[in-house]
Symmetry: D2
Subunit: 304 residues, 4 copies
């Protein structure tokens, strides 16, 4: 079965699941989204694209952006980042302060909020400059120059961001934040508010399926060893506190966001993105997780 | 033995202990204090005063101020405060965020930092107005109109206050802070920076030894039942995570601060204050704790 | 108002509260008790006794027994016990293993289960000998030679004692248990199963109100300083995780058990015991706590 | 470079690392092992074997045995096991009781001690019968009928097993243990004491590289989907609290034991086992981890 047939089949099968779960409601700007939407896109390293559903509808990528900023930090300082952030699954909720307190302000991994805040601090060069760099990077990866921040969501994140603000200040109290908490949070709130569509999301992860090389431009985004390591980090830490469940059911390195997007990578073959806003109890897209589980079943391409 | 003889005797006995331990060093403004200072003052409800050592030297009362703001909050809203703050010993460090996260932003008691921040929020009526009210209250209790904030210390608290800022934002994320975190922290940082001397401190706690009535003015600060409750709170929660040790060794309701002050109350009889800046591992004055232990031994007046 | 009038008045007032809450149900042997029972007894150091309700009905004293074994350990090894057990409120549930794990097998205080297990280990001299000694001690204190273990309850504790067994083995894994876990637990399960009535319970705590001297026999059970310390421990640690609440509402050193008994001490004056089997959410007698709150209000004799 | 050349090269390169770290010392029976030993074996699904070092020296496989018992449980009850055990990385130490207490006796995953104890309970059919079944299974997988329990180690585990005993009793207190704690622990202590050599270990994991089929016998040990899931579990939970680090550096599903063994799987291709007794701070073989990192680097066969 070719990928188009597979995702068509999945599209039909997941219809009863679309809308199950609950959309993210921690900020008003996300609360009112229509929860009956679904999109799925596959792009291969060979350059083929397969789509089904609303793959040109923009959504808030939220935590998926942590992969982009981590990639930038890896390019900038490489393994030195690991002096400031761990690489282990957290075993606790993505926004927990407990682990930070017990472990002296060193976040467990770069994909929990605390870790991503440290990563944003590591690449900080001024509010405007850093935000521009992130946007430029995502635009290049996706090939879509219209991708931008949803400022309404960024502002909503800021207003309701007391817990992230607590986290940034706690990290700073342990001297693990170089810049001002509010400056770093401005980057963090904006990266979470990047709006892009499902197809562009799949495209922008393709370098992780291609030994670190963007197949469009031929540009080496990460060296091949670092690319493998990025995938391993996504597998062990990318799905909040459902990494074990996701690895068990889907079996691919991936990253999710509370906007309902999930993107995953089959090394040397493809990137696959899904989007459906209603979330399961772990904060991952309900229908999206199901769709990816079917995908590795039908395509028989989990990494295990 | 009369109280003057007792404290003279204590003064001599604790000399070898004065300077043991370490002065608070979390802010530069406290770090350089001469650690070989000691003062002790006893004031009775009958109006007698007994002093030894540097009892007219001002110091930063720090957490002792939490008793003053709690008293104001009790006057304002009484038992309604307990919807927002617990009354149990924390079992964890005074500046821990763990308990807050596990217990939905309800601080365990009003004497840990998080609890005092909520109390400051409860009495907040604007930065200037609230600070003036606190100052006026302490001046009336002590009878000393020159008592004021040490603005250098308050500013140092602000600059190095990332952990308290983390705490305030975490509380706010649980909707247990009505005002802006920075506004409430301004009150909190200033109340900690109240500078007063050991004799004034003893005087200003005398209402708690006198069924809630200030013996100088005859004014009812707290009703007699609430006064007992305040004492019980000091006994179970007033000494950071050394309440058990302090109750075991001293046996009086008391409150300590990292400036090296400790003040305690013998109900219906007296208030006793000590000051010596070097702290034991719990953050309580090393020599001060020792002096109070000797005091209840020689005067045989622990509440047990 | 004399004590008899006070407790009569309390008896009437608490009737609507008797039966509120839930009887302990963790072992079948306790589950079926009639929850509409109430008794209250006051005995003074001067030798007066006042009773109301079913004060000659035996009940399972459970954790109240921890005061008896701690007294024996204090007599045996005094302050050396504190190398093995702390003296701070736990801040967590009475049967938590978390604190033990974080603090290397040193229980936070002698009144949580883990601490009482270490105390039982400290006085262990063989199963039979130790149980006999405890029984003899309680009989002497109460003057009632018929007091004995309820073997059905002791057996039920053993059968359903997996959590205590976990605790004892965890303590042993940290080398803080000298004897075999099962031997120590045999003592522990039996001491919890001591059956006595409310009047005898008040009598057997009278030494703690009398500077450590049993007023009947004139025997010095504990020296006067140690007696005060025991009272301070009860106040800061004696009511599970409701010590702050109990100190706030009642204001006396006391100890409760899940059998529905609570006993408290007014230093130099009296011991007061209540019993009513239905428990509040903290595991303390619902009506009993209320009765003691009224007692210190009417008699105006809290220690604060 | 063929596999023999690769492991020869690795053998030379890791020599300076062999002996670094510390051998397990929690039981006397493991303490005195010569820490300068090293062995590495690769077996392919095509039937080739490559060895270097002391690959015929028996050692205690310890936690690696958890994969064998989990496989048996999967065969017996399949996904029903997940009602009793989670599938997420623990984020805490392999022998922690904290997580158990907070999560009602449901171990976070089958590879921490608590989880393995529940798995042993799930396959329990009597002490002798269960131990025989485990031994028979390992003998069939490895093709070596002399593999047996090291009874001295099993007895040492029992004697010093207070923490595991605590764990089993805690699990039982939550009704998540069907059989007697001591019976289940007898299985657990014995499975940890299986002695086998590095080559046999690699052979006995080959079914996990071969879609669940033992290539020697052609027998389907696990169906192909379940085999993938087992590999995903090893990747996310198999290396104690160093799963992230191992995935980052090695990039293969694997399982380690404190006896110094580690075995890993390249799906569809091979199983690789290493042994070197000195452990890094996470409890994984120091030289063994290094050797596997070099292996996936030189063979370029991590799953990412």
């Amino acid at each position: 079965m070719d990928y188009q047939s597979i995702i068509n089949k999945i599209y039909n099968e997941v219809q009863p699941e679309v809308g199950k779960g609950r959309v993210a409601d921690y900020i008003p700007a996300l609360r009112n989204i229509d929860d009956h939407q679904f999109a799925m896109a596959v792009v291969t390293v060979a350059g083929k694209e397969f789509t089904v559903g609303k793959t040109d509808e923009n959504f808030s990528i939220q935590s998926i952006s942590k992969v982009f900023t981590l990639t930038l930090a890896m390019k900038d300082i490489g393994n030195k980042l690991w002096e400031r952030v761990g690489r282990e699954p957290s075993g606790t909720s993505f926004n927990s302060l407990v682990q930070l307190e017990y472990e002296n302000g060193i976040p467990r991994n770069p994909f929990i909020n605390a870790g991503a805040i440290v990563v944003s601090d590591a690449i900080f060069e001024g509010r405007g400059k850093t935000k521009n760099r992130i946007l430029k990077f995502v635009r290049e990866l996706s090939g879509n120059n219209t991708i931008t921040f949803d400022e309404e969501i960024a502002e909503s994140e800021r207003i309701y961001g007391n817990r992230n603000r607590a986290m940034a200040n706690l990290i700073k109290s342990f001297d693990n934040l170089t810049n001002q908490a509010d400056d770093v949070l401005d980057i963090y709130f904006h990266q979470c508010a990047i709006a892009m569509n499902t197809l562009d999301l799949a495209k922008s992860f393709l370098y992780l399926a291609n030994s670190g090389i963007d197949p469009k431009s031929g540009q080496q985004i990460l060296d091949s060893r670092m690319c493998k390591k990025m995938n391993s980090l996504m597998l062990t830490c990318g799905l909040y506190d459902a990494v074990g469940d996701f690895a068990y059911r889907v079996g691919l390195p991936g990253k999710s966001g509370v906007g309902g997007g999930i993107v995953a990578v089959v090394p040397n073959e493809l990137a696959v993105a899904v989007w459906s806003p209603a979330l399961n109890k772990y904060g991952n897209s309900y229908a999206g997780t199901k769709a990816l589980e079917l995908f590795t079943t039908y395509a028989n391409n989990s990494i295990f």
